[in-house]
Amino acid sequence: MILIRCPYCGELRTEDELTYGGEANIARPAETVSDEAWTDYLFMRTNPKGIHQEQWCCSAGCGQWFKVVRDTVSHRILDVWKFEEVSQAAEEVA
């Protein structure tokens, strides 16, 4: 069972109360980029076995989206932070 404390409302939520939003930090490129770059943006994912930066939504609670660093094997949550903040753990991974 994944438990994440929402950085906005401060409540500890179970995975059933949250919505997963996939890989974080994927920036939409300019519309003038090549088809290859656009395909990469739309479809290609890093999908790591291990540390992953991802987006979750506190959907059964305050409704805010936030970012998480999680291990995709152990499911351990390493950091949770707001979109406007910078994560120490995420910096170290990068």
Binding site: T39, F43, R45, N47, K49
Partner: protein, 418 residues
């Protein structure tokens, strides 16, 4: 006396010897330094690839590398269901080819895969689903695949323990039935292909993990493994949930995310359920194995995971749905639960054929439905590895479809989101 061919006569002869003379079903070779083809992944798709490559294309210098034991990944973790009621002509062609090959596979491999075409029912709970079923049936007729819509009374006759009472949470108007759908002993598919491939000279090397590729001018020249370096002319990969990492080693990206798909079985009981049944209201499906256990599964876990283990939120969802469908099953105890790492593609269709690396060919992206496609997936990858070109049936499923925006969106037809 070593008996190679399985038969009633062989069984009788070996019984007289106290069953001491059965040879191992396949060899345990050390890898050679060089092969024509290296196949990465010893699940159903990889093993089938090796078999068809040797049988249909006469390629004999083949190594199949498996990091664990053969059939220990998704091939040994699925719910053994087979069917071919897909919507689009491209998908129907490939999944029905798989089912037709499965129908003759026991004979072809000389290995009993215990195919049981007991009928695959997708329940219809409301008028909207009835219209969708009629729509799907029309597509299936166009595609030359069997299917029919049965009414409530027929469903009641086929599923006597199903909750059809006034208190039922999900009323049943009828069901979509594919009679050729059913189950297969999943381990037997892996073992049968492995034994048959081994007899054609394929070296099956277990506990051998690929750790890197050596490339020269967009071509792989050798594969680095935990058992050393292997030179090769062509490489095929069929590693499902691990595809992204292997592709990264070869230098390209895939439109995949890896998720956990769970399943569970009850204790074994006498026959109570003769068909496979899925409820679209809950996404939960159940059938009874030939040993008597009830096999149950549901939706995949929506967050990415390589955990290959089950968890309680999904167990609760699946079991509560099963008990709602079959209240008497509430008396049973759960015996085991587990998870596999499945490779989910945005359009719920496989990725087959060439990659940006010139001599590397791929078979992945089957998501939650790979077991039913094993013979066709193997045939397609074998064709690519032998000829360097893409089989006509695999053309719509190339990796290039994401760039050309020609997706084969099967999410609607699969009966369950995957």
């Amino acid at each position: 006396m070593k008996i190679r061919q399985y038969s009633l006569r062989a069984l009788a002869l070996c019984a007289l010897q106290g069953h001491r003379d059965w040879p191992p079903a396949w060899r345990t070779p050390q890898p050679k330094s060089s092969y024509d083809v290296v196949i990465v992944g010893g699940g159903g798709h990889g093993l089938a690839t090796a078999f068809y490559l040797a049988k249909h294309h006469g390629v004999t210098r083949i190594a199949l590398l498996e990091k664990g034991w053969i059939g220990g990944g998704n091939t040994g973790r699925n719910t053994t269901n087979v069917r071919s009621d897909y919507l689009f002509p491209e998908s129907a062609a490939i999944y029905d080819l798989a089912l037709r090959l499965y129908e003759d596979l026991a004979r072809e491999l000389n290995f009993n895969i215990m195919l049981s075409q007991r009928g695959w029912l997708t329940l219809i709970h409301n008028q909207h689903q009835m219209e969708l079923a009629a729509h799907k049936l029309n597509w299936l007729k166009c595609n030359g695949v069997d299917g029919e819509i049965i009414d409530r009374a027929v469903v009641r006759g086929m599923l006597p323990h199903f909750n059809m009472g006034r208190d039922a949470r999900n009323p049943v108007l009828g069901a979509f039935l594919q009679r050729r759908g059913g189950t297969i002993r999943h381990d037997a598919v892996a073992w049968g292909y492995a034994r048959a491939a081994d007899r054609l000279g394929v070296d099956i090397i277990q506990n051998c993990e690929v750790v890197g590729f050596e490339k020269s001018a967009d071509k792989i020249t050798s594969v680095h493994t935990t058992h050393g370096r292997i030179h090769c002319e062509r490489v095929g990969m069929a590693v499902a949930g691990q595809s992204t990492a292997l592709a990264a080693m070869a230098g390209f990206r895939l439109p995949l995310t890896t998720h956990t798909l769970q399943a569970m079985v009850s204790e074994p009981i006498r026959p109570v359920l003769n068909h496979v049944v899925i409820s679209p209201a809950t996404g939960v499906y159940v059938n009874q194995t030939q040993k008597g256990e009830l096999v149950m599964g549901g939706m995949l876990d929506l967050y990415q995971s390589y955990a290959q283990r089950g968890n309680f939120p999904t167990i609760e969802k699946v079991l509560s749905a099963v008990v709602e469908m079959f209240p008497s099953f509430g008396q049973l105890r759960l015996m085991r639960h587990w998870g596999g790492a499945v490779d989910i593609v945005p359009d719920s269709s496989p990725i087959l054929g060439p990659t940006p690396v010139r001599n590397l060919f791929i078979n992945c992206g089957w998501g939650t439905g790979g077991f039913k496609a094993i013979p066709a997936g193997g045939l397609m990858l074998a064709h690519s590895l032998a000829t360097g070109s893409t089989h006509p049936m695999a053309q719509p499923f190339g990796l290039d479809r994401f760039r050309s925006n020609r997706l084969v969106d099967e999410g609607a037809a699969a009966g369950i989101a995957h």
